[in-house]
Structures are given as C-alpha cells and as structure tokens.
C-alpha cells in the first residue's frame, strides 16, 4: 500500500510539473465548450437573403417585412428580375432568395419560389425551412376574406423551438473531452515511462502489474472527473443546458466512461513504444471515432449501415446516449440500464484486455 501511495504521489508530481500539458488538460475542455458553443452551430442566423420583386405590392412588401422581422434573415438585395440572382449567388452575396411573381396581392396562387445555396447542404435546408415557415406564418395570418388559394408548402420541419444546438453538443463534447484526457494522457504517460526506461525499473521491482497500472491511471481518473464537473458547470452556467435528471447518476456514468477510456489508453500504450506513436494511436483509435461515430456531430441514423454497426462498438456512443438522457430528458436507470450495462461490460472487457496486454509485453 505504501508503494502504491508513493507511485500515486509521483504521478501527481508528473502531472503538476508538466506545466504545458497541465494547461492543455485544464483549458482544453473550457475552450472546446466555448468553441463548440458559439462557433459550431446547427442553427443559422444573419442569412443573407435576396428578394426578386418585379412589382412590389402590399402582399410582397408585407412578406418582406416578415422576413426582416424574424431576425434570421437580412435582406441584402432587392432585384426586379430572377436572372439577377445568378450573380448574387455566384459571388456568395446571397445565401437564399425569395422570388415573387408580379401582382401577388391579387393572385396569391401564383406562388412564391424559395431558393437556397445548398453548397452547404445543412445550411441550405435550414434556410429553406426557415423561409417556408415565414411564408406559412404569413399565410395563416392573412385575413380569411382575402381571395385566392392558400399556398401551403408541403415541406415541414420540426424546430428546436429555442434553436439551442448547445443542448445537442454538450453531451457529445463531454465524451470527447473525457476521451482526450483519459486515453490520450494515459497512453502518453505510460509510453513515456517506456521511453525513459523507468518502466523497466518498476517492472523488476516487487510491484504487481495491477499496482503499476493503478498508480499510473488513478490520477488521470481524478483529472477526468474534474473535467466532467467543469464541463457540466460550464454547460449549465454559460449555455443554460438543462440538467433534468440526477447529477449523481451523471457523475457515476462519467466515471464509468473514464474507466473505459483509460483502459483503451493502456491498451494503446501496450502496443506502442514511443510517445509519438501512442499519440497517433490514441487520435486515430479513440478521438476520431468518438467525433464521427458517437452521434456527437453526425446522427447515427444517417450513417451507412456498416458504420452504424461499427458505432455500436464505440463506448462514446452509449455514453452520449446516457448523458443526453440524463441531462435533456431527465430519465434515470429505469430507461438507461441497457447503455449502462454495455458500458460496464466494455469497461470489464477492456480492463481485462489491457492488464493482459501489459503482462504479455513483458514476454516480448
């Protein structure tokens, strides 16, 4: 036990004295949350809208007023002919356009054409959806006495009513950060000892392999845990992401995911002998799959079938499910036991595998 305490103390010294890494560990989560919170949004604003209005009348002016009134659109140009749009789109001055026919007030059945720049498909479809919703609202509010056929666009999209994409990304971000802190840091710190030769000194000592592993990874569990608490606090305070379920459950599940990530880090370090390779391994083996396959950024439902199957093997996928459940839906273990069980099984399997890999390495 004294030996283990000494190992733990040593690892804490390593962490505290490596200022650069410490700064990265502490600030990375905070900066990431801010970045994702403000920069990477699925909702759009300040959409540059062009309007083709050959003969403005009360109807088209009213609709234009509604577009400006939403706060989403900014009308950058009003042109008389549809072919003038070409140039605006080409130069990127307009992201969307609304084309009115002449005499709309008298003949609303002539319809309104909505065009969007779909070079970025997500933005394109969002712009279209917003524009349609503006037109629909106008239609609905129009006096029933007005003549003509109602234009009811067939497109429908369910809005995130407050348009908060932070609600979506914070859970995923937590998985992402824990993966960085846990697998990457563990893999690097273990391979560093291999590189410097201190690992051999530990291996010939009477320390048991589990003691060496525990001494190495326990401090990173603490670091990971601090990150979880930090991200939850930031999400609550800055982005007002709700925490509808149990905080305790969230923290326990966070701990479970940390153990899974750490074990992956140990596995990676057992297969590599230099810090650089370990870093590449951790990036390719854990970070990218977490980004791409966990449902953090891309919905799992929209992945092709083979990748969807692969995503089931990603611990982060289940963790994201759990956090979203606890934070946004406020559900507990009654509903979340399947992903929790999967995470538990993964933790057990990976811990066993990593301890074994550690043993085997002695014989290589």
């Amino acid at each position: 036990m004294r030996a283990l305490a000494g190992l733990l103390r040593k690892e804490v010294y390593h962490i505290l004295r490596d200022r650069r890494t410490l700064v990265v560990i502490i600030f990375l989560p905070i900066v990431q949350v801010i970045l994702f919170g403000y920069a990477i949004r699925n909702d759009v604003s300040h959409v540059r809208l062009a309007v083709v209005d050959p003969a403005p009348d009360e109807a088209t002016l009213a609709m234009r007023g509604r577009f400006e009134g939403t706060g989403v659109f900014r009308i950058v140009a009003v042109v008389p002919r549809a072919r003038d749009l070409e140039d605006l789109f080409q130069r990127g001055e307009a992201q969307g356009a609304v084309v009115f026919e002449p005499n709309t007030a008298a003949h609303p059945d002539r319809g309104v054409l909505v065009i969007s720049d779909a070079t970025e498909p997500n933005t394109g479809s969002l712009v279209t959806a917003y524009a349609l919703s503006v037109l629909q609202t106008y239609e609905r509010d129009r006096p029933a006495t007005a003549a003509g056929v109602r234009i009811v666009p067939a497109v429908r999209m369910r809005f995130n009513p407050t348009r908060e994409s932070s609600n979506l990304f914070v859970p995923g971000l937590m998985a992402f950060i824990l993966t960085i802190v846990s697998s990457l840091m563990t893999a690097i710190s273990l391979t560093r000892e291999k590189e410097t030769g201190t690992m051999e000194a530990l291996l010939v000592s009477p320390l048991r392999p589990w003691q060496i592993i525990a001494g190495k990874v326990a401090p990173y569990i603490a670091v990971g845990f601090i990150s979880v608490v930090g991200v939850i606090a930031e999400a609550r305070l800055i982005f007002h992401v709700p925490l509808r379920g149990s905080l305790l459950l969230l923290l326990v599940e966070g701990l479970l995911f940390i153990v899974v990530s750490l074990s992956l880090g140990i596995l990676i370090s057992a297969r590599t002998s230099s810090q650089r390779v370990a870093m590449m391994g951790a990036l390719a083996g854990t970070l990218l799959p977490t980004m791409l396959l966990s449902g953090f950024i891309f919905p799992i439902e929209s992945l092709p079938a083979p990748l969807r199957a692969l995503s089931a093997a990603m611990p982060a996928r289940w963790f994201v499910l759990v956090i979203r459940g606890v934070m946004l839906k406020g559900i507990g273990l009654t509903y979340l036991w399947p992903p929790t069980l999967i995470l538990l099984a993964m933790a057990a399997a990976l811990l066993a595998a990593s301890t074994r890999a550690f043993h085997e390495r002695l014989d290589a």
Binding site: L7, T196, E200, V204, P206, D363
Partner: protein
C-alpha cells in the same frame, strides 16, 4: 549469505526461430563482481532480462538469491536491484523524491528511507543538491545516483546493464568504487559492459558470442588460457567470426 548467488543451468531463450540465449550455464558466488561481456546482440540483455524475471526462459532454469526465476519471480524481485543502460530515475522528480519513491516501492520504513537517504547523499556528495531536479544533474552524477538507488534496499544481487555507457573515465572509476563498496558489503554484482578495461576490474568474466558462453573465468586465468595480453585481445579473438 554465502555460497551461490546466481545459478544458471542450460538457460535458453528463443524468439521464434532465433535463439538469443543458447543453453548458458554459469554460477556466480555471493559477493562476487561478475562481468558479463559480449558484442551487441550476443544475448547479454536477454540473459539479464530472464534473470530479473522480466522475460520467461524458453527452457533451462536459473535461480537468483536462492529462488527460481520462473517459478518464484516475486521472491526474486524482492532480493534484486536493477539498473539498465537507459537511465532509470525520474527526471522531473528531485533527488530526494526519487530516493523516497524507490524506498517505498521496496517497502522500506520511513525511518530506513530517511537514514539511507542521508547516508547515500553524503556518500555521493550530493547533500546540497537533494532538492534539485534530477534532469539538472550531469549524466555522470545521474548514473552514480541511479546505482545508489538500485542498491537502496540492500539487495542480495544487483544487475547492472551497461551502467557506464556514455560516461567519462573519471566518473567510471568513481562508479566502480561504488560497485566495489557494494560487493564488500556482500552484494553480488552482475555487470555488463562494452568497456573491456572494466572487465579487468571483475573477479570473473564470461564472454558471450552468438548466445553462448565462449569463455568463463578470472581475467588473469583467461588471458593465460588463451595466450592473449588483454581481455580486449581475447574478446576480439573470440568474437571475430
């Protein structure tokens, strides 16, 4: 302890089709300074890894401090010290923290640790530097410190794998003084080296060629037996294909 400290019998290690260590048999007496010589790739490090419990022998057997290295690895580990060619202290810890860490790993009491730390620092003349980070020490000092730390728990046998590589001649001499002091206290020393002048400092040496022991004995006896002027000449004579 008297008698035999290390005993290897037909000790063999194969990696796939390659035989790194081929049926080596030798004894090292307690308190002896035993030189383990050989060219790069001759199998020295593999042999040491088996004797320290880091690597399982393919066949044959060996005992260290009276315990079988394959069957009682944990017991062996308690009684040995080890210093590899790569530096084995933590550079971002201070001298004192390194000593305390290894003292704790070998289960020494706090009193033992502080007593031995004081003695060790005084012996090396590092008392004033106890709280300096190891990375700020010159290489020679680090190596002497690493050896002293490997001896901290007073092991019965200490394995030194090329401990003096890259060190200047004066520091090498001081290093060997530390080795003799340990041997005088009854610690058995098995040391590998590239510096063949160092072989003359050993009580006995073995020369490994291609995984086998090609010569074994006291340096003086070996020179007479092979009619060479120095171990250096003998080494070249044996190692040349």
């Amino acid at each position: 302890m008297s008698g035999v400290a290390i005993e290897a019998h037909e000790l063999t290690r194969r990696f796939g089709a390659f035989t790194a260590v081929d049926r080596i048999t030798f004894d090292v007496r307690a308190g002896e300074v035993f030189g383990f010589l050989g060219a790069n790739g001759a199998g020295k490090t593999t042999a040491i890894r088996m004797l320290t419990g880091l690597l399982r022998p393919t066949s044959g057997r060996a005992t260290v401090a009276g315990h079988d290295v394959a069957a009682a690895t944990e017991l062996v580990k308690r009684h040995i010290g080890y210093m590899s060619q790569r530096f084995s202290l933590y550079e971002d810890l201070t001298i004192r923290e390194n000593i305390t860490l290894y003292g704790g790993i070998y289960d020494l009491s706090d009193r033992d640790i502080s007593e031995r730390t004081a003695r060790l620092l005084a012996r090396l003349g590092l008392g004033h530097a106890a709280d300096r980070f190891v990375r700020t020490l010159p290489l020679g000092w680090r190596q002497k410190l690493a050896l002293s730390v490997a001896l901290l728990h007073e092991p019965r046998v200490v394995f030194l794998d090329e401990p003096t590589s890259g060190v200047d001649p004066i520091t090498r001499r001081q290093f060997w003084e530390l080795i003799y002091e340990a041997a005088a206290r009854g610690t058995t020393v098995l040391v590998t080296t590239h510096y063949l002048d160092e072989a003359e400092y050993c009580d006995r040496v073995s020369i490994m060629v291609g995984g086998r022991i090609a010569a074994l004995g006291a340096p003086g006896d070996l020179k007479r037996q092979f009619h060479t002027r120095s171990i250096d000449d003998l080494f070249v004579q044996l190692a040349r294909p």
